[in-house]
């Protein structure tokens, strides 16, 4: 590896460490992880509803809902907060006066935030996995006793879903850092970022509308087409039920395609973000 690349990776890794340490200490992170864990654990108390196969789906929906909702909130708020903390507290002044490029600064911030989001998502996923596995054992024993088919649970599927959620949160974090590099305030970043996340979740509607023939004029069609490229389709990462409880219903290559698309969006958002950030006066 060339020396300049090695030095650059070293600087990025140190920026990442600092961001990770700062993020993991935040009360907001602790609060959200406790709240989400409580939500996942509380799903067990709905056992009395006894839905059979449906019970696992209920627990899954509870857990996935917590990971999705609180993960999104954490990705938006933490990315913006960590970026603006450096700007407002003027620690960025000290860091960027060192041989750290703006791109290295932004990439280091992104990886640091993404690692924290990884801790969040994998912790919740582990909790959910334990709950699902334990309940699946009980339901399987009951099903065998009464001569029914045992419920299906794929831990590998749950892991795939966790990876996909982590990728989705990576796309959100990169998108927020791109907005932050342009924005002047934390509040503006959070509001615009949240709107983009909602737009990303609903992007599939634009795709569906485009597929219906003759419903749109040329201008609307062009506008929708452009929006489907600019705004990532975040809904494609939400196939947790299918992956965990009905693995066969997931189309071949869907996971790979979603991860590839997520990676491309992360790279593009960080690239645009660093171009904007280079012009920013510290």
């Amino acid at each position: 590896m060339p020396n300049f690349m090695k030095s650059s990776l070293t600087r990025i890794s140190w920026m990442t460490r600092l961001t990770f340490l700062e993020a993991i200490r935040q009360r907001f992170f602790a609060f959200l992880i406790l709240l989400s864990a409580a939500l996942v654990l509380s799903s067990v108390s709905f056992r009395f509803l006894d839905f059979g196969h449906g019970e696992l789906k209920f627990v899954c929906d509870f857990g996935f809902g917590g990971m999705f909702l609180f993960g999104s909130v954490l990705a938006v708020v933490m990315s913006a907060q960590l970026f603006f903390a450096e700007m407002d507290n003027r620690t960025a002044l000290t860091l960027l006066a060192k041989p750290v490029s703006r791109t290295e600064f932004l990439v280091g911030k992104f990886i640091g935030v993404w690692l924290v989001l990884g801790v969040f998502i994998f912790t919740l996923s582990t909790l959910l996995g334990i709950i699902l596995w334990a309940r699946c054992q009980e339901l399987t024993a009951t099903a065998i006793e009464v001569g029914k088919a045992p419920p299906e649970l794929s831990i590998t599927g749950l892991l795939s879903y966790t990876g996909m959620q982590w990728a989705r949160l990576g796309v959100v974090a990169a998108m927020i850092l791109m907005v932050a590099s342009l924005a002047r305030t934390f509040l503006f970043t959070v509001i615009v970022g949240s709107m983009l996340v909602v737009a990303g979740q609903l992007q599939w509607l634009a795709q569906e509308t485009l597929l219906k023939p003759g419903e749109l004029n040329f201008f609307s069609k062009a506008l929708l087409s452009i929006s489907t490229y600019i705004i990532p389709n975040l809904q494609q990462f939400n196939i947790g039920d299918a992956l965990t409880l009905d693995h066969g219903s997931v189309a071949d290559g869907a996971v790979t395609l979603a991860l590839f698309s997520g990676t491309c969006y992360i790279v593009v958002f960080l690239f645009i973000g660093s171009l904007i950030f280079r012009q920013r006066e510290i």
Partner: protein, 285 residues
């Protein structure tokens, strides 16, 4: 080794846009100066005169509207130039959860110090800034003076050729200020070039080789400290036991040569000297 100036600023101008209508505020107005290597250069001026903006442009943190800057032979503050430069910002703020030692080590790694040399470099910087004892405390517990000293340590840990200090003595007591003055002299003796922004004019006078004074974005004076401060048309003679007769005799002799005594006063020591004489150590160590 490159022997050209450490910093060359030529026709530097910076306009900030204010408000939605994009009104311009000229923060730096056609400023030019050179800082020779190995010297201590004082950049002075009232608050808001454009000193910090000039320093930020030199460091590449702000882009100029017009003009050119070269730093250590590089046409602008490239990564290579910044790896040979140390910077202590005004009122420095660091991540409070790090200890002083962690911060300095972290800055060493960011500045390109090799992993095997980090511990030695950190120790050296902590000793030079007298921060060894407090190095393992978190930065959140530091006093203002200690923050400035740890800021100085992070600025010099990679042994830079050029050190830029923006108000290093702000909020520091006279003993701490004197210690920082000593550190600057010590760095100068090692051949470093130092740019010092400060409101402590007495200290600037003591440690700087050259000064520049800015006012309302413009450079109003630049030159060697001795040249700009010495009044060549007057002399001071310090005399012990001057009796009235001796004074009259001296006046007569001087008059024969066309010279005249304009004032006779008792020498005073500065308040700064008196304070440092009475107060032996800083309380924040």
């Amino acid at each position: 080794m490159n022997t050209g100036p450490a910093i060359t600023v030529n026709g530097l101008t910076k306009d900030f846009r204010i408000g939605l209508r994009g009104l311009k505020l000229r923060a730096v107005d056609n400023v030019s100066f050179e800082i020779p290597r190995g010297q201590v250069f004082g950049l002075l001026g009232p608050n808001g005169c454009g000193k910090s903006t000039t320093l930020k442009i030199i460091l590449g943190l702000v882009s100029p509207t017009a003009g050119k800057v070269s730093i250590l032979g590089f046409p602008f503050a490239t990564t290579a130039a910044r790896s040979r430069t140390g910077f202590l910002p005004e009122a420095p703020y660091f991540h409070k959860f790090l200890t002083g030692r962690e911060l300095v080590a972290y800055c060493a790694r960011l500045s390109g110090v090799k992993p095997e040399s980090v511990n030695h470099a950190v120790e050296e910087a902590l000793v030079l800034t007298a921060m060894t004892e407090a190095a393992d405390r978190t930065i959140g517990t530091y006093s203002k003076g200690m923050l400035q000293r740890i800021g100085l340590a992070q600025a010099i840990v990679h042994d830079p050729e050029l050190v830029i200090l923006d108000e290093p003595t702000a909020g520091v007591d006279p003993v701490g200020s004197a210690a920082i003055g000593q550190m600057i002299k010590s760095m100068k003796s090692k051949g470093k070039t130092i740019v010092l922004c400060s409101h402590l004019l007495g200290q600037v006078e003591q440690v700087c080789d050259r000064i520049a004074i800015m006012d309302r974005g413009k450079l109003v004076l630049e030159g060697r400290v001795d040249d700009v401060l010495t009044r060549r048309d007057q002399n001071i003679i310090t005399v012990e036991n001057l009796t009235p007769d001796a004074r009259r005799a001296a006046e007569e002799v001087l008059a024969q040569h066309g010279a005249k005594i304009t004032s006779i006063t008792h020498p005073r020591r500065s308040l700064d000297d008196l304070f440092r004489e009475l107060v032996t150590g800083s309380r924040d160590a």
